[in-house]
């Protein structure tokens, strides 16, 4: 046990505050609650503990065991061995920016490279050092827009096809602000791809419109009209993007997006039962002062050598405190490094190839599945990237139970979030899935339809 104080020091402190013993500090806790009897097992040796934990862990299955068609925000991509190999080096294996950051030039350089890659990927001017995950980055986008208008614009519009969990996180983040309305995703909103319903809700009280790209259903929607309509009202537009898709698609910057955020998990970060992931946050240069989180800049030291520093820190909560845009300044240093290594290892052409493989395989799968009796491609009028929605002949959870017998993880049950999409499965296909895997999936789907 780590005990930072000697008994002598403890006695000194007790004397200063005028109590005899440590127990006296806990008198406001009723005695019967102070040391309740805990119903825990007898101590075990290290070997016994390791065996028991191993046994518990073996009850879990992962995408090493299953072929996964589950996406909906987290994707099972191949991770080159070099990512983990470099990531686990002792010099990097700490998730925090050190509190004397300039001492750790390697860490700062890695973050600088990450920021540069994210700017290039999104076509945006600046990137911060990252947030926790896509959901928190999205909430920070709403929050930043709110602060850019100094709280004078009270409406935050969010498309219903933004990830439902992200929308929930926006509401959690904004609940402390007075009179802010998070709207646009009401349950009677249609899923039309022309964005007209959202456009109609933009007014000069709207701080930001948040849309997803590709959207939660995997659809590639042209947001040009929406961006123009928003900018006419002085409203900002935030894109919630999938980084892999940007290997093929026109980047948010080319749409004149004001903010682009996303989850960096697809960039070399394992699913890991839900985290840690990586929040990407990019924006235009004119909003630099309102950008939350850390920023690393390149400069020269007093002998003219290249050096990296934390820059523009007066924006941040440790100086500006309650007036900063956000009080969450933590970045996902290690995950940002993973994404940096992943993108560097793949290179521009390799990254495009991954995106293209995802696209082609997803389209093969969609064709095969929709040719089955009882299965139908939903939203077929809109192009999609590597995720698509299939209307199924039976409830999705029933189908997924059956698929498990074939060691297949089926798609996401959309009825959980969209009551009108009962019997609709959101299916993701990454480059890891082979043609044989898809054919097996199709066969299993056919089988369950006839059960």
């Amino acid at each position: 046990m780590f005990t930072p104080h000697t008994p002598q020091e403890i006695n000194e402190m007790l004397k200063v505050i005028g109590v005899d013993k440590i127990e006296d500090l806990f008198q406001s806790v009723p005695e019967k609650y102070r040391f309740p009897k805990l119903d825990i097992a007898a101590p075990l040796s290290e070997m016994e503990v390791a065996a028991e934990l191993g046994e518990i862990a073996s009850a879990n299955a992962s995408t090493d065991d299953f072929i996964s068609f589950l996406g909906a925000g987290a994707y099972d991509h191949y991770i080159p061995a070099v990512v983990d190999m470099l990531l686990r080096r002792g010099e990097f294996y700490t998730a925090y920016t050190p509190y004397q950051p300039e001492v750790s030039q390697g860490t700062l350089q890695a973050i600088f490279e990450f920021q540069s890659l994210m700017s290039e990927l999104t076509g945006m001017d600046v990137s911060n050092a990252s947030h926790y995950d896509g959901a928190t980055a999205t909430a920070e986008a709403a929050n930043m827009a709110f602060h850019i208008f100094r709280g004078k614009r009270k409406k935050i519009l969010v498309s219903r096809t933004v990830n439902p969990q992200y929308r929930e996180t926006i509401r959690t983040y904004m609940q402390g602000q007075e009179n802010v309305q998070v709207t646009g995703d009401e349950s009677d909103t249609s899923f039309d791809n022309d964005t007209q319903q959202l456009i109609d809700k933009i007014d000069n009280n709207t701080a930001v419109v948040l849309v997803q790209y590709p959207d939660f259903f995997g659809r590639i929607i042209d947001y040009t009209k929406l961006v123009n309509a928003a900018h006419e009202q002085g409203t900002l537009v935030a894109f919630v993007f999938n980084p892999t898709a940007l290997g093929l698609l026109k980047p948010p910057g080319a749409f004149d997006a004001d903010i682009a955020v996303g989850d960096g998990q697809p960039l070399g970060i394992p699913l890991s039962f839900g985290g840690p992931y990586l929040g990407i946050f990019t924006t235009k240069e004119k909003h630099l002062r309102k950008l939350a989180g850390r920023l690393v800049g390149e400069t020269v030291d007093d002998s003219g050598n290249r050096a990296y520093v934390l820059t523009l820190t007066a924006r941040e909560q440790h100086i500006r405190r309650e007036k900063s845009t956000s009080n969450i300044c933590t970045n996902q240093g290690l995950m940002a490094l993973a994404a940096t290594i992943y993108l560097s290892a793949l290179g521009k052409s390799g990254f495009k190839q991954v995106a293209n493989l995802c696209y082609q395989k997803a389209h093969y799968a969609a064709d095969q599945i929709s040719s089955l009796e009882g299965y139908e491609l939903a939203f077929k009028e809109t192009p999609f990237f590597h995720e698509f929605v299939i209307k199924t002949p039976k409830p999705v959870n029933q189908i997924n139970l059956h698929l498990q017998n074939h060691w297949i993880l089926g798609g996401y049950d959309l009825s959980q979030d969209y009551p009108e999409l009962e019997n609709h499965m959101l299916i993701a296909v990454t480059e890891k899935i082979s043609k044989d895997d898809i054919d097996e999936f199709v066969m299993a789907l056919e089988e369950v339809a006839h059960d």
Binding site: R150, R289, A314, R315, I319, R320, K323
Partner: protein, 130 residues
């Protein structure tokens, strides 16, 4: 350190120039010296906004710190010095002229009565410097 006579000064280091019912506000030479190089000015108000006594009208960010600039009376904003957005260094080089920040139509000029005059402000600064 310059402390022009004829201006009023707040203990939070703003100066006020009164012209009838209109008041121009900036930060004092002492304040700019304490802040060191100013790199960014952000206005918290727009023209036509109402301000209440003590409201922050701008934030000044230097290489060392970020500080609020407060207005010591109530009124309506009639002008802001947009030059400062591109040239925040004016606050350092010319705090009393080119570095003016906002102009406000006062509801009640007597709200400024308890501000210090130049002499009082100088004495206050000396006291602070100890």
């Amino acid at each position: 350190m310059k402390t022009p006579a004829g201006l009023k000064y707040a203990k939070t280091d703003e100066w006020i120039k009164l012209e009838g019912n209109e008041a121009v506000l900036g930060i004092s030479d002492y304040a700019q010296d304490q802040l060191s190089d100013v790199v960014y000015v952000e206005f918290m108000v727009d023209v036509d906004d109402q301000v209440s006594k003590g409201d922050a009208v701008a934030t000044v960010e230097s290489v060392k710190a970020a500080s609020d600039v407060n207005f010591p009376a109530s009124g309506t904003v009639i002008a802001i010095n947009e030059d400062l957005i591109d040239a925040p260094e004016l606050l350092n080089s010319d705090p009393y002229e080119g570095g003016w920040m906002v102009k406000i139509l006062l509801d009640d000029p007597s709200e400024l009565d308890d501000l210090l005059d130049a002499e009082g402000y100088e004495a206050y600064n000396e006291e602070r410097e100890g």
